[in-house]
Amino acid sequence: MISLAGRDILHAWGKFIFTGVGLGLLIGVTLTMAGVYRGMVDDGKVLLDASGADLWVVQKDTLGPYAESSSLPDDLWRGIRGMPGVAQAANVTYLTMQVGQGQRDVRAMVVGITAGGPGDPGWPPQLVAGRQITRGHYEAVADLASGFRLGDELKIRRNHYRVVGLTRRMVSSGGDPMVFIPLKDAQEAQFLKDNDAILMQRRRTEANPAFNRPGVPGLLEAVIATQTSNSSVNAVLVRAQPGFAPAQVAEPIRRWKRLTVYDRPQMEGIVLGKLIATSAKQIGMFLVILALVSAAIVAFIIYTLTMDKIREIAVLKLIGTRNRTIAGMILQQALVLGLIGFVVGKISATFAAPIFPKYVLLVPEDSIAGFFALMAICVLASGVAIRMALKVDPAEAIG
């Protein structure tokens, strides 16, 4: 038996190809949206991987340092370092801000890291060019996604930093590239004010009789000094000693230091469940809408193609063609259309992904799921046309 669907497709191949390409672009958008979601999840995991920590010690009852602000004294790490099972403890600050370079600026997550070396918590694990930070001030390691190059001079608040090293795929959960600078610089940057604001604050403090008491020398200077310095960090990153489970190390810190401690699964839950949850739902809604639009388009196209063949279908039925042969013809055409759409969509998504400003991660599982979902959509969408074709009265061929 000849393939009626195949012959019809070959006969009207231009119509099928162009329709398939149109559908394919829609599928490409769908696959790319799924890739955007995967990229966000991956960015979140990269953020946690990059910290090199087993535990995140943050301000009590907060979801810091990524989902909420958290503030801890910067000397707390010493006490944590002495807790059982702690191999390393390091302060860290995170601040998402505009980092300037010449006339342009880039949105970046500025990470303040303590003096130490590669492999310490908070430090970038590996570089693709240059070296790690070796000086206490004004050196930076930037991610390639920021567009900065070795030797570039960056401006963070009022201070200038030279890029000495470059990383790859070191980004925040929002996809902003990371810029690592020394902790002291980062602490200063968090609260650094412009000169006018500092002067006005000093005047206000001087005018306050509680801070400017006659006969108490040095009080005013001390108050002003505390107002213009920052001794807080966002979190203490902890690495557990071999043989100690992170949960086992976390419990005494919670109990004795009265702080909140998250281990890796908990922090993943926060990053994925809180930080990107809304975006994930948004993308999920888009995927549902795109799936519905795809289904409507396939249904409309197959319906139109079938409508164009009503007389031929009536003739086929009159001359004894089985209903299942006619249904099979329509179904095969819908599946071929879906197949063309999937191939075009996959190719377009693959080529478009690197152009997107945010990381788009196309995983084979999504493509496979997308393929089967599209085939299911095509089967369902062809239902309307099949139903209509089966209702055609063979008598219509006679007139």
Binding site: M1, R311, E312, I319, G320, T321, P394, A395, I398, G399
Partner: protein, 239 residues
């Protein structure tokens, strides 16, 4: 002889009623007709006379309300009883030739004709061979690989006749087969139908309004208000 005409087609006391109660319409009333194998008869009548209803009953597309119909050696309808698989009956025992050829536009000429035996389970090669034999008999073998849109009206109608004959049915129903054709081509189609009827021992019923071809029938059934009257035609020989 490859035909399987048997008794051709015979209908006795056939009637068809649409609707029920006060709104019932009796479209066919006690129609009797017999067409022998190898014979071509005309069926003529004005619009609304019941021609289309009779054709649909003969084509096993709608069921008659009463009466008997025999096709070849097989009883098809008998006062409410009917054969189970009308679709297979239409495929194997009835050939259709329409006013417009209604060829499948995405199949070439050979496959348009070969499709019917293929649907009946005949192997593709055998079906195509059978189609080519018929196309040769109808003198369109040179267009065997062409698509329907590439054929002239006359060629399309000959291909449609080949499709009607390919499963060697005992009866062919031709509905206004010459309507879209000029006189010369119309006569050619009638001649072909006559030749094919004789060659394959097929009973052919031609529904027509075409004054040019009516004199060519030896027997004519007139239908008016659902009642048929048989009359002897001129049976004029075709040049």
């Amino acid at each position: 002889m490859i035909g399987m005409g048997g008794q051709g087609i015979r209908i006795e006391g056939l009637s068809k009623r649409y609707g029920s109660g006060d709104t019932a319409v009796l479209a066919l009333k006690d129609v009797n007709m017999q067409v022998a194998p190898g014979e071509v008869v005309g069926l003529i009548g004005p619009s609304g006379s019941g021609k289309s209803t009779l054709l649909k009953c003969l084509g096993a597309v709608i069921d008659p309300t009463a009466g008997r119909m025999t096709l070849g050696d097989e009883l098809i309808y008998d006062n409410g009883w009917k054969v189970r698989d009308l679709r297979a009956l239409r495929r194997d025992k009835i050939g259709f030739v329409f006013q417009a050829p209604y060829l499948i536009p995405f199949l070439d000429v050979t496959d348009n004709v070969a499709l019917l035996p293929m649907l009946a389970g005949v192997p593709n090669d055998e079906a195509r061979k059978r189609a080519l034999d018929l196309l040769t008999a109808l003198d369109v073998q040179h267009r065997a690989q062409a698509m329907p849109a590439q054929l002239s009206g006359g060629e399309q109608q000959r291909v449609a006749i080949a499709r009607g004959l390919v499963n060697r049915p005992p009866v062919i129903l031709a509905d206004e087969p010459t309507a879209p054709l000029d006189s010369q081509r119309a006569m050619a189609v009638v001649r072909i139908l006559g030749d094919m009827a004789r060659k394959y021992e097929t009973a052919i019923i031609v529904v027509t309004h075409d004054e040019k071809i009516i004199p060519t029938f030896k027997r004519i059934y007139h239908i008016r208000d659902g009642v048929t009257h048989e009359e002897v035609g001129e049976g004029r020989a075709l040049d």
